[in-house]
């Protein structure tokens, strides 16, 4: 995967594992990195897949296609997608306002955007549940409109919006910041109005970052547990997310069942990670041209 420069061909070590360097410590640093990575991440994760193969295909298939598991996967991925879409709109709005406009208290608002990163998920979970409960500050208003948030998929989506927001804002901000005034002035002088300038000039430039941010928010939301369990109500078939179902199976000592669901979730998440990486490499290449 590593790209070797022209000099390597001259030096004649293009086929070697490592390019020559005067800096010491490579063997030690890489050795430690690989050992630690293997012990903490790679071996335990591969054991999960190995365990799944010992279940037998039929058992595995039977587990992951049971109505309850399918419902939980549909809910986890569906709510994560809905939250990512909401964050695409509001994340972009927040990034836009923070980068382009001035208003009192902007610094504090800017700092607060990172709160969901720093706040323990259990705290977020009970705070949101209290807020959106039928007698809570926001829940009361929603109840007046006939909307129930806690113990419904809507509540789950709200928690996931909270968790995902900073990913979109912080990924879009630097691109928006680097956008040059000149291209917008050029669009203006060529007769574009402000809205045309936005969707024909600015939006295409920030779209890759927006999609990357949404993919990050989505992948975090799919696996999220702490902020969701309190507001979800956890009714099987209705508001039971996949990570919670894994937890339930573990508590019933159904290790095979927990493993099977975990493998399905991981395979989908890794495919998403892979797709995002390829997409990022592709946009970077495009930018260079």
């Amino acid at each position: 995967m590593t790209r070797f420069g022209k000099n390597d061909m001259v030096n004649g070590d293009a086929l070697k594992f490592k390019r020559h360097s005067v800096i010491p410590g490579f063997d030690f640093a890489l050795g430690f990195t690989l050992t630690y990575l293997s012990l903490i991440v790679l071996i335990p994760l591969s054991l999960l897949f190995f365990k799944a193969t010992t279940l037998g295909w039929e058992h595995f298939w039977h587990t992951v296609t049971s109505a309850r598991v399918l419902a939980s996967l549909r809910l986890s991925f569906g709510a994560a997608l809905a939250s990512a879409l909401v964050n695409a709109v509001f994340g972009l709005l927040v990034a836009w306002v923070l980068i382009r406009y001035d208003f009192p208290g902007k610094k504090i608002v800017d700092a607060l955007v990172d709160l969901p990163f720093a706040l323990p998920t259990a705290v977020a979970g009970i705070a949101l549940t209290t807020l959106y409960a039928p007698h809570g500050w926001v829940g009361r208003i929603l109840a007046g409109l006939g909307i129930k948030a806690t113990f419904t998929p809507l509540g789950i989506t709200i928690a996931l919006i909270f968790i995902g927001l900073p990913f979109v804002v912080r990924t879009v901000e630097p691109i928006l910041q680097d956008l040059e005034n000149e291209i917008e002035e050029a669009a203006y002088s060529l007769g574009a109005n402000r809205w045309q300038t936005f969707y024909k000039v600015i939006f295409p430039a920030i779209l890759p970052a927006l999609l990357t941010g949404c993919a990050m928010a989505f992948s975090r939301a799919v696996g999220e547990y702490g902020s969701v369990v309190f507001i979800a109500g956890n009714m099987p078939m209705k508001t039971e997310i996949a990570p919670l179902l894994i937890m339930t199976k573990l508590e019933q000592y159904d290790y095979a069942g927990a493993t099977a669901i975990a493998v399905v979730m991981l395979v989908i998440s890794f495919m998403l990670l892979f797709a995002t990486n390829i997409f990022q490499a592709w946009t970077r290449q495009y930018e260079r041209v």
Partner: protein, 292 residues
Amino acid sequence: MAGAIGLRNEAKNLGRRAAVTEPPFVRAILITAALVFLAVFLMLPIFVVLVSALTKGVQFYFQAFTEPAAVAALKLTLLVAAITVPLNVLFGLAAAWSIAKFDFMGKKFLTTLIDLPFSVSPVISGLIYVLVFGAQGVLGPWLQAHDIRIIFAVPGIVLATIFVTFPFVARELIPLMQAQGNEEENAAIILGANGWQTFWRVTLPNIKWGLLYGVILCNARAMGEFGAVSVVSGHIRGLTNTLPLHVEILYNEYSFTAAFAVSSLLMMLAFVTLALKHFIEWHHLRESLANH
């Protein structure tokens, strides 16, 4: 990938001419919409924690985190962070040193592998250690024969926390060290410094803010982790309960005020993290401006 965001290098906001900005009423509408959204989604949760924590008065508030179970949970949380953070700092430094300072085959693949824990659900992070060390796990029988407990004990909590905070430090350092290049290190070595001297006197001063940033993010997640720890903890009061798990227990017992009191402590941690983050960004920006 997901989970951490790099240090920001803000440039000064240049004044925008009227031609390339929106009419005042559009600006006002957009600012209001953004602020209302943030108020509902970010501000209200903060207020709800504070108000709920104080509903039974100040005395009850302090009682909630001075009772023995809460103190034990706090101690365990601090212990777990004290083991996790230094280990992940060592790993982050080693990984960044090998990836940023050298060119070798499979480097990009290795970088992707380091990010892997960010795309694993916290619950699955706990599950994999149960499958290794649990009673029915691969090493289960051996551990039982030697009377070693890992799952439903402190070592399991530490392992699960190391896993979920694994990429934080490395993720901050790799791009930073790559951007800085090798010239200063090469010069130091050629002038006769050995590897350690080069690291301590040349590399470390250059990466200190990025390293500190990685450390505070890693620490915040280590202290606040819930899902992964929940799987391996066994929820034994006074023994394997961390602060976030203590919040859950109190909440499920309908001790809402106590749950929010302990939560307010964790929220304080979040605010300290955010304040430090901004302090670091400010320093980083100042130094990078001074260098130009």
